[in-house]
């Protein structure tokens, strides 16, 4: 009899436990909603935080797009240079009769047969190649990069901003982005004359995309030729 009563008690306790568990599980979503409700009360702060996060993400994406554009440009330049080299070698191979050594040498060193675009692409490619091969002279390169950034700070070149500055030991490559054609012309017309812009320069205006006009500036260290040392 006692054992039977105990069994009934155990079953009752079990049923009660299960009922309590079911009730808790049933009510839990409602609690979650009630926790969200106060957050909705502070939606302005939340929106500000979300906005900050979005802006940071946007800035990060913009920087990434700029980097990709630069890499794209460099690849296009490399491709153009390779195409130019192929064109040159094909034109040599279709010549009738074996050319003399002197003629071959003259042709090898002669880029006059190339279109202007190909020559420009070659020149820029060679400069990029030279910059890539140069060892870094940190005493000069860091000082020069700071000087360039100082001279081309945003207020000094309204409507333009420096995307990148890369100096090694005798050469710098500076890339500037412009908001429109006027800003680009202004910079080109008013390039600084002070060091480090007192050495030889090569300036390429890129305006194939009107919404992203850019200017590439290659500056040689003073007393160093810009092109003579190019391979």
């Amino acid at each position: 009899m006692n054992r039977g009563a105990m069994n009934v008690t155990n079953v009752t306790i079990g049923v009660a436990f299960l009922a309590a568990l079911g009730t808790w599980l049933f009510l839990r979503p409602a609690e979650t909603e009630s926790q969200v409700a106060p957050v909705a009360g502070t939606s302005a702060a939340s929106r500000t935080e979300q906005s900050d996060v979005s802006e940071k993400a946007l800035a990060s994406l913009k920087a990434e797009v700029a980097t990709l554009k630069r890499e794209h440009d460099q690849l296009v330049q490399s491709l153009n240079a390779v195409e130019a080299a192929l064109t040159r070698s094909i034109s040599l191979s279709v010549q009738t009769g074996p050319p003399s050594n002197a003629a071959e040498e003259a042709e090898a060193g002669n880029t006059k047969g190339l279109s202007e675009e190909q020559r420009i692409a070659n020149t820029l490619y060679e400069l990029d190649l030279r910059l890539g091969k140069e060892f870094d002279d940190p005493a000069w390169s860091q000082k020069t990069e700071v000087e360039i950034t100082t001279l081309l700070h945003t207020e000094a070149i309204e409507g333009s901003r420096v995307l990148s500055t890369d100096c090694h030991s005798t050469l710098c490559r500076v890339e500037v982005e412009h908001q429109d054609a006027d800003a680009q012309s202004w910079l080109v017309d008013h390039l600084p004359m002070e060091p480090p812009f007192d050495g030889e320069m090569l300036v390429r205006q890129i305006d194939d995309d009107p919404l992203a006009r850019r200017t590439l500036i290659y500056v040689a260290r003073r007393e160093h030729p810009l092109l003579a040392a190019t391979p």
Binding site: E116, I120, T123, D198, G199, E200, M201, L202, Q205, A228
Partner: protein, 165 residues
């Protein structure tokens, strides 16, 4: 009479041989000189074109930037040098110039290193750009100079010169 013919023939042969083996005349570099008054004011200052063909800056306060066009032959190599004869009468600032070499459409250009006067006085100072700068087929050249405002007297460009291969 035979002797005369023989002498004539000998002299003729010597002349032909000499002509055949003579070195060709040396090919001179091609230089062109322009008066300073060929330059035009680009910005700043006040242009004072003198009857002596100089271009001076008569502004007391503002530096004048001028563009000096250079007639280029159909040369296939860069200039050898550009020289600007500048009058620098400013006690502190200098006349500074650079040579510019543009592609035909102006999309790419090379710029020489900056060249500058040193000291001041009435005498012309010859500023030389040096060569080796980038050039494009049928591209165009000019020099661009900054002329300081009036100092002891007016500064400017007396003449300029380009030497091509």
């Amino acid at each position: 009479m035979k002797k005369f013919y023989r002498l004539f023939a000998t002299l003729g042969a010597v002349a032909v041989i000499t002509g055949a083996f003579d070195a060709p005349p040396a090919q001179a570099d091609d230089g062109k000189i322009f008066p300073g008054s060929m330059c035009t004011r680009f910005s700043g200052g006040t242009a004072n074109y003198t009857s002596s063909g100089r271009l001076l800056n008569s502004s007391a306060v503002s530096t004048m930037t001028v563009l000096c066009p250079i007639v280029r032959d159909l040369a296939s190599d860069p200039w050898i040098t550009i020289e600007v004869v500048a009058i620098d009468q400013h006690l502190i600032q200098n006349v500074t110039c650079r040579g510019y070499s543009y592609s035909r459409d102006g999309g790419l250009f090379g710029v020489s290193a900056l060249f500058s006067t040193a000291g001041n006085g009435n005498a012309g100072q010859v500023l030389s750009s040096g060569g080796g700068i980038w050039e494009a087929d049928r591209g165009y050249y000019f020099a661009k100079c900054d002329i300081p405002p009036v100092g002891a007297a007016q500064s400017g460009i007396a003449s300029y010169f380009v030497l091509e291969p």
